[in-house]
């Protein structure tokens, strides 16, 4: 349907003209809308329900392994999530402290309602952004051979024109929630669902998929006996998510709320196994594909039959509510069974459920139909981000949201769009995985998906991405100056430690021996000393007289650079090899069917995915190294032919 046809439908009216329309105001939509508006584009953001903007319908936390890195990266690019999360943090922890700097992962518990309100307030103040509660049912496109986006239409027949549209529909499209045999036609958290938009996308020729995910029960803390649970407190020595806050000395809150953990009992197991026939997954009510990394509790018992028990975390939903979230207790068993399951847990025998757990099925776009810019290959000017692209998680959604927003804005401005590489950022890994390999289940970011994680650390996200954010226009001059200052400090301090030698004195010996290492034979540079696993920057402060006070963000980075120097160098070599393949661009008009050496499967996959370069081609499943060799030979031939002509 084009604009003219839309306006011809009954009761239709022209409601507004925008550069960019963002459909859906979850974590992806909010980032996309903020990016567009901050880049000066006239933007409209639609949401099904304004009070649920930036909702956290599942766990009340942001960050965690790989996800914490994503939040830092979003912030480094000039995104919003980190700042809002810092504001609403009620507990902060740094996971993986003992496992090396590459996998340090910040995680914060959120005050859920505060988060939603804070994000709404922030967006409402952006001068170029209009926010509208509306149900978008149609994508409007041009009639050209190559379709392009022209606008959207609401259920109430309001027509909005837009040069670019970013759809971030989360789990709302044609969703249904399921508890045992009971199926409800709602979105998550009992909110209204999106009807019609999925069909509109499909009729534009976009391939659609259907996934499933789920969420656990929430209980009132009033009747919980915490004395039988293990208490888990937050940490105050963790940097905030936002570099702005970090550089301005705004840390995480001193007063933090604890989380708790318990183990399932044999009774829990018994209740689950005797009710498995009522699970919609096993009875066949659910056909969508669920995430392996976030399995329901019944899934865990079925798949790991030798495990007697599983751990459940009890997390507060906010400071002004008694509601507690049971992490690890996601289920789609009937409500009545859920009550018994919860009451079988230690300390929860009297607990009252406030919201029951459910599984949810929803429509999404096959991410293989996307370009690495997150623009559709089928409809020009259409971008998608978040769960609609097959991902799972708030941070994954926000990460795609900011990229989709930036690229939609650049597209409208007629500027070159950005693609982050796998060696630039977790965001690059996330998007490349989705658009190159596709996914058969909700995709969760994990550190192991990144090949170069010694480089993709949470502490250097600014170094990797802030220059890109600055170039795009999302980083203010003031913040960029601070960033430059930090980089200079890091460089200067690294050099100083390399050039400062100390003698093997008695004082040094005492320090080293107490840390479990030994005194060197002769003079040694502080940098060399830091290479020892037992030695930290803090430890050698007493013998480092010329040290000037520097922000922790600087000293931590310096320490990491020096301590892991050799390994970082090795990884840098790998990145260079990777870049070589990434630099070998594949012509967009290449006809893979005509390359005789390629196997049939490779020809089909390459023709449909149309990778931008040899590197991306090599990551397509079904394309073997031998196929890549054939492609390399083929490209060489093209090059030689060009030379001859």
């Amino acid at each position: 349907m084009n604009i003219k046809q839309a306006l011809e439908t009954q009761n239709a009216y022209m409601a507004g003209e925008y550069d960019v329309a963002v459909v859906g105001a979850g974590h992806a939509g909010c980032e996309a809308a903020a990016a567009c508006a901050n880049l000066g584009l006239k933007t409209v953001l639609f949401t099904l329900h304004l009070d649920s903007l930036a909702n956290l319908p599942c766990n009340p936390s942001i960050g965690g392994t790989a996800k914490g890195q994503l939040v830092r990266e979003i912030d480094a690019l000039g995104g919003v999530m980190g700042k809002i999360a810092d504001k609403c943090c009620i507990q902060m922890r740094m996971l993986n402290r003992s496992k090396g700097p590459a996998v340090y992962s910040p995680r914060a518990q959120m005050d859920r309602s505060k988060y939603s309100v804070a994000m709404k307030c922030y967006l409402e103040k952006l001068p170029d952004l209009d926010i509208r509660q509306a149900h978008i049912t149609d994508l409007l496109t041009s009639d050209d051979d190559k379709k392009s986006v022209v606008g959207v239409m609401t259920e109430s027949r309001a027509v909005y024109s837009a040069s670019a549209v970013v759809i971030c529909s989360g789990t709302y499209m044609e969703s249904r929630t399921i508890r045992g045999e009971v199926v409800c036609l709602t979105g998550p958290d009992g909110l209204p669902r999106s009807i019609g938009l999925s069909a509109s996308l499909a009729s534009a020729g976009i391939p659609m998929l259907r996934f499933k995910t789920g969420t656990p029960v929430r209980v009132n803390s009033g009747k919980i006996d915490f004395s039988v649970m293990t208490r888990q407190d937050g940490e105050t020595d963790v940097p905030p998510f936002s570099f702005d806050n970090e550089m301005n000395g705004i840390g995480v809150p001193e007063e933090q709320v604890p989380c708790w953990s318990v183990w399932t009992t044999p009774e829990t197991r018994e209740i689950i196994s005797s009710n498995m026939d009522r699970s919609p997954l096993y009875s066949g009510v659910i056909t969508g594909i669920g995430p392996r990394y976030c399995p329901s509790i019944e899934d865990k018992f079925m798949r790991f039959q030798d495990k007697e028990r599983h751990q459940i975390f009890v997390e507060p939903m906010g400071e002004e509510t008694n509601e507690m979230y049971l992490q690890g207790f996601s289920t789609s068993l009937p409500e009545e069974v859920q009550i018994r399951m919860v009451r079988s847990l230690p300390g929860l025998s009297e607990a009252v459920i406030q919201r029951s757990a459910y599984a949810i099925e929803y429509d999404l776009v096959d991410p293989l139909s996307l370009l690495p810019t997150l623009e559709s290959k089928i409809v020009e000017g259409l971008y998608t981000a978040g769960q609609i692209n097959g991902s799972s998680g708030y941070e994954e959604a926000a990460a795609q949201g900011i990229i989709a927003g930036i690229n939609a804005a650049l597209k409208v401005k007629g500027e070159e769009q950005i693609v982050l590489n796998r060696s630039d950022a977790y965001i690059g890994v996330l998007i490349d995985d989705l658009v190159t390999k596709g996914t058969s289940e909700p995709y969760r970011m994990m550190t192991s998906r990144a090949e170069y994680r010694l480089f993709l650390r949470q502490d250097n996200a600014d170094k990797r991405l802030t220059p890109i954010g600055k170039k795009v226009g999302l980083i203010s001059d003031e913040r960029y100056e601070k960033y430059i200052k930090k980089q200079e400090d890091v460089e200067k301090e690294t050099l100083r430690l390399r050039q400062t030698y100390i003698a093997p004195t008695k004082e040094l010996e005492e320090i080293l021996v107490s840390a479990g290492t030994t005194l060197p034979q002769s003079g040694i540079s502080l940098a060399e000393l830091l290479k020892r696993p037992q030695v930290t920057y803090e430890l050698i402060a007493p013998v480092d007289g010329k040290r000037e006070p520097l922000p922790v963000a600087v000293t931590k980075e310096v320490e990491t650079i020096l301590k892991y120097e050799g390994y970082l160098k090795l990884e840098k070599e790998k990145i260079e090899k990777f870049a070589q393949l990434e630099r070998r661009l594949l012509p967009s008009d290449i006809n893979y069917e005509s390359i005789s050496g390629l196997r049939l499967e490779a020809r089909q996959k390459l023709n449909s995915i149309r990778p931008l370069n040899i590197g991306q081609a090599s990551r397509i499943s079904g394309v073997s190294p031998a196929d890549i060799s054939v492609l390399l030979v083929y490209m060489e031939t093209l090059k030689r032919k060009d030379k001859e002509d």
Binding site: T65, A66, L95, N96, S98, K99, G100, P101, A102, V103, S105, S261, W263, K307, R309, H310, Q311, F313, M446, T447, S448, E451, R453, L454, P533, Q534, K563, Y564, Y567, L570, E571, K574, K577, Q580, L581, R584, I595, S596, G597, R599, I614, S618, S624, P625, A626, I628, S629, V630, L632, V633, Y634, E636, T637, R640
Partner: protein
Amino acid sequence: MDLCELDNRPFCACSTPSGTAGIAVIRLSGEGSSLIADKCIKIVRAYDESVKVCSQMPGYTACYARFEDPADGRLIDNVIVMHFVAPHSYTGDEMFEISCHGGSAVKQEILSVLESNGARPAGRGEFTKRAFINGKLDLAEAEAVMDVINADSARALDAANSQIHGDLSSKLDMYEKKLYEALALIEMIVEFPEHDDTPENTDKITEICRKAVSGLDSLIRSYSKGRMLTERMKIVLCGKPNSGKSTLLNAIAGFDRAIVTDTPGTTRDTLELQADIASIPVTVVDTAGLRDTSDEIEEMGIRRAVTALSEADLVFYLIAPDEDVSSVEENLRDMDPNKTKAVFTKSDEGDNPHKKEIEELIRAHGINDFVEISAKSGLNMDLLEQEVKKTYEAAGGLLAENILIMSKRHADALTSASDKLNSAIEAVEGGLGVDIASSVIRSALDDLGAITGKTVSAELADTIFSRFCIGK
């Protein structure tokens, strides 16, 4: 002919060695082979009598036929033709094997007729390249085939064959699987830090790395043996100046290659000679005498001698009748007892007065083989031959149960992988963190993948194909 061009025409070559033999086999492969075959080959008798032309032959069947020049119908040879239907052939493309009589004129004529009817001459390794591109071989196998093409002795062929059949690949597969297991353990630890079933214990990770290192190291050690078989066995003659090295070399060569004089230190450089001893291809290296010297040029020669010693497969340590005990003691320090044989030379000039003492010294150093020769009179020269044969066969014997690494690229990749795994162990045990270990193990896996062809790298593909592109 540049093989890097994607020339889709069928190609042909003689697949049996050059020279005259009873029969020769000519291969014709590629899409469109049957068109050429139908033109040049007239079936006289096929297993299935209804088959009249080559293109109709079922796969893996043969026929008896006349090979003719279609230009004038002239008979060139009576041949047996075997048909392979794609993808069930060595290259994966359609292929014919034409067995003809072995004279070189016949072979040449058949090839030229095929070429004037649309086939092009195959480049070096091109059948293998097609097999690789068609997914019939992985990289390790393809390279092994290149080694077959290059190898000229039967034993090397055996070793290369075992790699064609994937022994090396399957062994590396096994290590890869194990290392992925270690990675999975690390990922568990890192990814789900708060989970109950997350192992905190890293012993299993280091254990897997240790086992892989020891396996890889034994493969690396086999490279010297593998090299002996594909290239030439390297025999080094060493000893004090004027101990008769050049005389022995000349006896082997049968002509005066080295200048033989009575002045100690005449051979200032290492001299090399290629010869066959007991029909084993060898390179004999005659080194400068081992001794301290103030002469600069000679000192260089001595340094080269020490290098030659380290690269040798077999060392003959020559001891002349006038050699004294102290110089033997000194020279022994440079000798690897595992590959050194002691040789008392110039036995025609009488026994060394300290022979007993010298023998004891040598035994104490771990060398148990002694030979007494006279290159001039030819005494016991056959015993030296026996020693060469023994060393060669010992390497060959390893073949029966072991895999030999025959390519330097493989040896380098394995060495790099082994080093990295050692540093992964260090990182875990030294408390640097499992994330470091994971990064390094991944690099090691990339190294192994470069052998099995599981890792794509532009560099690798270029290297391999440049080898395929040598041309004829």
